[in-house]
Symmetry: C2
Subunit: 473 residues, 2 copies
């Protein structure tokens, strides 16, 4: 059944049932996405204050057959939060007013946050109780919990703590018919039926709207160490990772690989970012360890460096001697995406491959792309998780616009390489609206059939985030 | 639509399509369950050798409208593996011949095992590569991976490493229509659509039949320490756990609470189990820590004991001085279930509550039960996860049979207390056929509706493990 538009008549009728100022015309910020690749159609945004209001809005949309686009911090990179003009206008449902941290149980390592809570605020609330909420990523100052869970966000601490889904004990969510699932469990173990929590996490708002989450906190490591090490290449980086985990177990919290291209881009576009070398190395690993039980991370990193150097894996290295220096090392990694945006990528890829396939991927994909054109490749990312951001840029003097005609071929080349190695064409950003075609092309057909059956079962009229993840037939 | 029975005519027709000896009449062992509470109806068992054969058998059952009961190691405690006589006979599908460890990738911390692989064999294969497969429980010598994942098994290491589902990177599974989902991912990050993996894990064979799994391995701690500590009560045990995690972070691998009743039962039924005290204490904690990075667990436990003693949380303690002593400490915990069986419980409960609610639960449930009758209560378990085995026994001189008339009231009393505290009436054993009523009584109605919709979507004819988890309508 085709959807009805969230037009003025619908909005007027809905507004009459809601508190004043809940519904209004969507300002441009609701219609944009961070990379500025496309714009949403003008329409209405609802900003409920509590779960009952969300349920009321969803019920009204269910009765009217009107689509809903759930909206968190708006930081998603695959257009899951932007309704395209090819669909009848959806109602944007922003969780921005539901920002409460409802409760915190330090002894239980549990925190209950509403969907609109900003990640940095949740981290701070946990830290205030000497606990760690380990989800951490570049947009943490504006990304909201609901969106982070709906997209199963990744970030820099996945190696040790897992993805966003691994931080969730329970959910409260509004289903497509407006009913509310009260699942804010504080339990570590609960085997009573299908895991609806993990089904909603990562479903990008297409199966239900998360309104609150019960989040798992972790102990805070008592001491942290950070080092920047020059490795001979991706293969050596992986051997070094294995060595680090043999030495330090799961204390290895982050393990990021960076190619020289990133440092060149930083020098070119953000010269204020301090680089601790005269000539950037070709491949650098940023490692962070967090230890407990009185162990000394400095000594651990020194012993690790000595062993890795003896094994020929690392040629040079800096162990941060202060918190400031650790922050400087991290700034190198964290400001690369900004440098990338200033250069302007022809095509960006958020991919993962099995760890052992990383060297093969890097060795073969670059030459294959060179057959399409002459580009600069910035390959960096969470190599400990097999997750690379593999972005293709014009050479100096050219712009991304010069290569518009090659973008599809570049993307297909990268994704075909990834797929052939058993990898994923969306490691941490999700499908959204950008990668619906990719999912159809590369996804397992039996999994896709199951996904369609589940979508149809839980949202038979297809009102939840229409066109995201699965094509609306 | 009612199911057709897996009768001789169906078996004859199916056998003609299969390799010889794949199908035979089910011996009694397929019709029993460990507690001997009920028996399955006689029938046929299929023992396929590979995934294609599983798919062929499921396709034949789909065409014939015949139910299938997937069968692993047969160690489940809620009857998920036993088809009752109230249904048309189902075909038992045993994965016992699919025991291969297909591959192991030590550098990636990945192991791929078929569903019939026995847990202890998977642990050993991981250890052979200096890796840890952390899932560990009493039945690990006979429980099989497929069943362990289908039931999202728990065990003693959940505190540090999570439940069975947290060890899974990907699955291969046969769906209700006989199609095969090829999802044996080795990826740590893959956000391409709904998480079918987590939906099948814990669905107890009602949504698909797991044929193989890609499992996550962990670094092996370089040094382990074990201690047995007398605590003043459950409240002190929880404060001690918080203190232990402040001291040692996630190095706390196991944290088990035991009540004196368990030691009395051991003395009564298994006197060969050495007990390190003249008079058993009322409450004892068994703690295990596994450290990396050169830290000394002995020293860590000593410092922890000193701090806990100063805080008045522990009154006495033994730190294992040898591996043998550590094994002796663990034997106390691991042989309690056997002692329980010898005593004979009137009613057993596998429950969890929020950590902070444990003292309240223990303080209130016992007196409530005393209003039903005079019993001995053995309360022990994975208190670090909020998971207690809370089992009710006759007093000396009486038998469980003397209290058959009180069993329902006891169970309702325990489960009502658990539910009122936000707990779960099945923490780690699952629903199976034993707890279908409990799920209907205590489950969130919106979650139940979603579960039924999902079951109907993925198994529209209801052939997969009929009557388990959800009532067949």
């Amino acid at each position: 059944m085709p959807l009805s538009p969230a037009d003025d008549a619908f909005a007027d009728a809905l507004a009459a049932t809601l508190a004043p100022d809940t519904l209004r015309r969507a300002e441009p910020r609701y219609l944009e996405e961070p990379r500025g690749r496309w714009a949403g159609a003008a329409g209405w945004v609802a900003r409920p204050r509590n779960t009952d209001e969300v349920a009321g809005i969803v019920s009204a949309c269910a009765r009217g057959g009107v689509g809903i686009v759930p909206y968190g911090g708006g930081t998603g990179l695959v257009g899951g939060q932007v309704c395209g003009a090819d669909q009848p206008a959806s109602l944007i449902l922003s969780l921005e007013r539901m920002t409460a941290i409802r409760a915190i149980y330090p002894q239980e390592n549990v925190l209950i946050a509403e969907a609109g809570a900003i990640l940095a605020d949740v981290q701070a609330a946990a830290a205030g109780q000497n606990r760690l909420f380990p989800l951490s990523l570049a947009s943490e100052g504006s990304a909201r919990i609901g969106g982070l869970l709906a997209t199963n966000a990744g970030g820099v601490n996945v190696l040790r703590y897992g993805n966003a889904r691994d931080q969730v004990l329970g959910l409260e969510a509004v289903m497509a018919d407006g009913t509310v699932w009260h699942g804010l469990s504080r339990l570590r173990k609960d085997n009573t039926g299908y895991d609806l929590r993990h089904l909603l996490v990562g479903s990008e708002g297409t199966l239900g709207i998360i309104t609150a989450a019960s989040l798992k906190l972790s102990p805070r490591p008592t001491a942290t160490g950070t080092a920047l090490l020059t490795v001979t290449g991706p293969e050596a980086a992986l051997s070094f990772l294995a060595l680090a985990r043999d030495h330090l177990g799961e204390a290895v919290s982050a393990f990021e690989l960076m190619h020289r291209t990133g440092f060149d881009f930083l020098a070119e576009t953000l010269p204020e970012v301090r680089q601790p070398w005269a000539e950037p190395p070709n491949w650098v690993v940023l490692i962070e360890v967090g230890l407990s039980g009185g162990a000394d991370p400095q000594a651990g990193l020194e012993a690790l460096f000595a062993a890795a150097h003896a094994a020929g894996l690392v040629s040079d290295g800096l162990i941060a001697q202060s918190e400031q220096q650790a922050r400087d090392f991290w700034a190198l990694r964290e400001r690369i995406p900004e440098a990338n945006r200033r250069i302007g990528a022809v095509s960006s890829h958020d991919i993962s491959v099995p760890l052992g396939a990383i060297p093969d991927f890097i060795a073969t994909c670059g030459p294959a792309l060179a057959r399409i054109g002459t580009f600069r490749i910035n390959c960096f990312g969470h190599v400990g998780d097999g997750n690379l951001h593999y972005n293709v840029f014009p050479i100096p003097g050219e712009t991304r616009g010069d290569h518009d005609d090659k973008r599809a071929a570049i993307k297909a080349c990268v994704h075909d390489h990834v797929h052939a190695l058993g990898g994923s064409v969306s490691a941490e950003h999700g499908i959204g609206r950008l990668k619906v075609d990719d999912l159809e092309r590369y996804g397992d057909p039996v999994k896709l059939a199951a996904m369609r059956a589940i979508k149809n079962a839980l949202d038979p009229n297809g009102i939840l985030n229409p066109g995201a993840v699965l094509r609306r037939l």
